[in-house]
């Protein structure tokens, strides 16, 4: 027992010794906190004042957020340093007199309002944010005690609505909310070098002007367009209408802020025949010499598949494309099978969001399960909804030799290797160029209005009825045209889409793509091509003709005029 007591005493003694150590550690820690407090409260004061003075001597404030520029270096987004006026009402000796003087400089306030603000029992009150330099000068001259300015930075977009859907805008604290401003928020907020986009402001302007004129002419509810470099995926112009002024983005309505190019997904109609043909040719199930019977409509369950420009006979593969035959396309797709179709469209990126650098990205809508009827309708672009951005990037791969590039809004440096994913063979791509040229060149093609003399335009029309509340509306169309130029060696893809255009007298009441979207493509290409370094050629020159030669393999000796 005694031994145990001794041991207990020893343990207690050791505990006490160690408690002293604990006490010492705590004392040291509390002293450290105390010293740090004194350090901050007393010693750091002077340093700060010095830092402040030196900043004022230099007279410059570091602009924080990086600029955004187009591919030529044109400013798209920058910062403006402004002054905001605030007051410490407790230091304003005569609020009524001060208010009267202030009201003369700030006419939007009445003297009574300002008197109320300046007599408040508070130490801080904002009077006006973002003064003009003149206002700041005038207020300084008034010499009212108790007023002061706070330097602030305001994001400005010198070109306003022109690039609104690409560049996006920031919130009150300069944080990116939409577009590039949001997707590159962290980089931009870090300051430093300007972010250079792939956009060319000149082409952007042309595209927006032509689109908005056409929207007005055909009383469409909106539209969009896209010019993309076929070899690199760089987006040279991208417009969604209606748009908004990002300098006052909070006044814009939801429709104006909706990005129809990347966020909107649409059933795009016959432009999908491009991919149907490419699939059929690339897989070898048919060739340019092959063809399908399009003599009568297809009836499946309660559906009937008809041709808009009905020829009602056997059609060759080029004829199916040129006449835009739904029946022929559907048969071609059935021949290939749903699985191949699904895999091919998936390879082209149609079943996923694109990887373009925008937060506003629409997810494609496609049928699950992928039934036989879906296979048929998808062959001519119904039953699958994708964004115009998808269309542009996949079309580029069809005509550039067969390489798919991710669409990008960032300028590629010339030294960067161009990586693409092969999706079709060079031969198939060759045939696709010829087929698309046929649509514009041949008198029976649907895209004659897209022609731009000298620039050898090729393309495909697409007119789809819009589904509203699960039903197709015959009067509500999405009319689109995807064009490429120059067809002998395509450099750019142009997509134009009009949302619900209405027929007019000049178009004989038609609101279809050939009448509405195709002319925009023609006008955009003829103005933009010289700026993009594409020189016009003689379209009848033998080498051009050779590069685009195509036999129709028609079984009709002379093609009927209509």
């Amino acid at each position: 027992m005694v031994a145990q007591d001794d041991e207990r005493q020893a343990t207690l003694e050791r505990a006490r010794t160690r408690l002293l150590i604990g006490g010492a550690v705590f004392t040291a820690c509390f002293l450290a906190v105390g010293l740090r407090l004194a350090d901050l409260g007393l010693l750091r004061q002077e340093q700060d004042v010095r830092a402040l003075q030196s900043r004022e001597v230099v007279g410059q404030i570091k602009t924080q957020r990086a600029d955004i520029v187009d591919r030529q270096g044109e400013l798209l987004a920058t910062n403006l340093v402004t002054a905001s006026l605030f007051a410490n009402p407790r230091r304003v000796p005569d609020p009524a007199a001060a208010a009267l003087k202030l009201a003369s400089v700030l006419p939007e306030f009445s003297a009574a309002e300002l008197t109320a603000k300046l007599s408040a029992d508070r130490a801080f009150v904002w009077l006006k944010r973002n003064l003009t330099p003149r206002q700041q000068f005038e207020i300084n001259r008034l010499g009212i005690p108790g007023l002061d300015f706070e330097r602030e930075e305001q994001r400005v977009y010198p070109h306003g609505a022109l690039t609104a859907h690409v560049v996006g805008f920031t919130g009150i604290d300069n944080e990116g909310l939409v577009g590039i401003e949001k997707s590159f928020d962290a980089t931009l907020a870090g300051g430093g070098e300007a972010l250079q986009l792939s956009l060319d402001l000149r082409v952007q302007y042309i595209l927006r002007k032509e689109l908005s004129e056409q929207i007005e002419r055909f009383s469409a509810i909106g539209g969009g367009g896209l010019v993309i470099d076929a070899d690199t995926g760089e987006i040279v112009a991208m417009v969604s209408l209606p748009d908004f002024d990002p300098n006052s983005a909070n006044e814009a309505d939801d429709d104006a802020r909706f990005n129809r190019i990347s966020l909107g997904v649409y059933e795009l109609g016959s432009v999908f025949k491009i991919f149907n043909h490419a699939m059929a040719l690339d897989s070898g199930i048919t060739s340019m010499k092959g063809g399908y019977d399009a003599s009568k409509p297809i009836r499946v369950a309660r559906f009937t598949i008809n041709d808009f420009h009905g020829e009602n006979r056997w059609l060759s593969v080029p004829e199916i494309f040129m006449y835009s035959s739904n029946v022929g396309s559907a048969k071609m797709a059935l021949h290939a099978g749903g699985e191949m179709q699904r895999d091919f469209l998936s390879d082209l990126g149609f079943l996923e969001r694109t990887s373009v650098e925008l937060p506003e990205q629409g997810k494609p809508i496609y049928p699950a399960p992928w039934r036989e009827i879906s296979t048929m309708t998808i062959s001519y672009g119904h039953g699958i909804a994708v964004s115009p951005m998808h269309l542009a990037s996949a079309t580029a791969a069809m005509v550039n030799g067969g390489l798919l590039h991710s669409p990008t809004l960032i300028k590629r440096s010339p030294s960067d290797p161009v990586l693409g994913k092969r999706v079709i063979s060079r031969d198939t791509s060759d045939s696709m160029r010829r087929l698309m040229r046929l649509v514009v060149e041949n008198e029976n093609g649907t895209g004659g209005n897209a022609a731009a003399p000298g620039y050898v335009v090729g393309g495909k029309t697409g007119t789809a009825e819009k589904q509203v509340d699960g039903r197709y509306k015959t009067k509500a169309l999405v009319s689109s045209f995807v064009g490429v130029f120059p067809s002998q060696a395509p450099r750019y893809v142009v997509v134009v889409m009009l949302d619900e255009p209405k027929g007019i007298k000049e178009s004989y009441g038609y609101a279809t793509a050939g009448w509405t979207a195709a002319p925009v493509v023609s006008r955009v290409i003829s103005q933009a091509a010289p700026l993009l370094g594409v020189a016009p050629v003689d379209e009848d020159a033998p080498e051009i003709q050779r590069a685009l030669a195509l036999s129709l393999y028609s079984r009709v000796r002379t093609v009927a005029a209509n």
Binding site: Q4, T11, A15, L19, G22, G23, F30, V33, L40, D48
Partner: protein, 374 residues
């Protein structure tokens, strides 16, 4: 107060003459500062999150009497009652802690709160003091041959608590619990080799947390390199201390509370620095230090190992929390959500602190034959 005669043998009378007046006074002073700062710091926060301006002040003032009652009632207990009381609180908290993981409210990515009858409870606050007493009890118990050594049970309990806290995840609380437990183990006679080993293990565990839990990594990166990452709160906090200077801007006149979301809780000390100034904040630091050291002195004089370990454990928790909170706002430590005892807003923290300091007062009361006579 002097109107209570020494011969008064009623329960309260005896309490008054045996309880440590100086600690009681220091705690009262801290509580008063807490009320002042709740009124100064919380209205802008309440307005910002869409509540009535005086919402937090009212809550603080409603819970304060409960906390005060907890201090008095708990400090009336005898050491034996404290043991049982702590054991009961610990057992219930452990169950609730496990429940929190299952049905707790997820706030900012962690499950730390349990809704009980409209009152949201942060159970971890109650685990800390009750476990300190239970651990002291186990450490002070001598091992008997043929049965499981109490220190082993204690290790298992500590492991369970830390795991439950880490699962929420609440690394800060897990660190506090582990530190207090290690401190007690150290006092109880842990060999210095083992102390070193356990410290290494703790460092290892924290390194693990750094790599496994992104929010921990962010905080620590932000501390090591203030230029990168989210150093907004901390730079505003430091600015507040500088703005305050020696005498402060006066209660209510500060600006920092307008820009700090946690001005009434984790960053309340910065509000104190700006509005009350250096002198008062030094007084607050002094009060915390005094409570800890005064308690240590009383514990030093005890003849009973359990009392020494329990008091030291409870005060280590109290002091450590204060140091972590103040250290965070002063950029001496990475920012860590930890309340400043009696001063930060937070119902669970306030009640648990009342309970914990009540235990300290109970265990340091003068007892016949217990030593600790002045």
């Amino acid at each position: 107060m002097t109107s209570i005669p020494r011969t008064d043998t009623s329960i309260l009378g005896r309490w008054w003459w045996t309880v440590d007046h100086l600690t009681l006074g220091a705690l009262a002073a801290l509580i008063v500062f807490g009320v002042i700062l709740a009124m100064a710091a919380s209205p802008p926060v309440a307005v910002r999150i869409g509540l009535d301006e005086m919402y937090f002040v009212r809550r603080h003032l409603t819970l304060l009497p409960v906390a005060l009652a907890a201090i008095v009632v708990v400090s009336l207990m005898t050491p034996a009652q404290i043991k049982l009381f702590a054991l009961a609180v610990f057992a219930v908290s452990l169950v609730l802690l496990a429940t929190t993981l299952l049905v707790g409210n997820e706030v900012k990515g962690a499950r730390r709160w349990l809704n009980i009858a409209g009152f949201s409870l942060q159970v971890s606050e109650f685990v800390k003091p009750s476990f300190a007493v239970v651990a002291a009890w186990l450490f002070a118990k001598e091992a008997r041959k043929g049965s499981i050594p109490p220190a082993a049970i204690c290790l298992v309990l500590c492991g369970t608590v830390v795991l439950l806290l880490a699962a929420q995840p609440d690394i800060g609380q897990a660190v506090v619990v582990t530190s207090v437990w290690l401190a007690q183990f150290f006092l109880a006679g842990l060999s210095l080799w083992l102390v070193g080993g356990l410290l290494a293990l703790a460092v290892l565990a924290l390194t693990g947390a750094y790599f496994v839990l992104p929010h921990v990594a962010r905080r620590i990166n932000g501390f090591l390199d203030p230029s990168q990452g989210d150093s907004y709160q901390i730079s505003r906090s430091l600015e507040a201390f500088r703005n305050g200077g020696l005498f402060g801007r006066g209660p209510g006149e500060g600006q920092v509370k307008n820009s700090l979301p946690d001005a009434h809780a984790d960053f309340v000390f910065a509000v104190a620095g700006e509005e009350l100034g250096l002198i008062v904040t030094l007084v607050i630091v002094g009060l915390f230090g005094f409570v800890v050291l005064r308690g240590f002195t009383r514990a030093f004089l005890e003849q009973n190992l359990f009392l020494l370990l329990a008091v030291a454990g409870l005060l280590t928790q109290f002091g450590l929390q204060a140091l972590i909170n103040m250290g965070s706002t002063l950029q001496l430590l990475p920012t860590k959500g930890m309340t400043l005892p009696f001063i930060s807003y937070g119902g669970s923290s306030l009640l648990a602190m009342g309970m914990g300091t009540g235990m300290v007062l109970a265990l340091t009361r003068r007892r016949p034959g217990g030593g600790g006579h002045a």
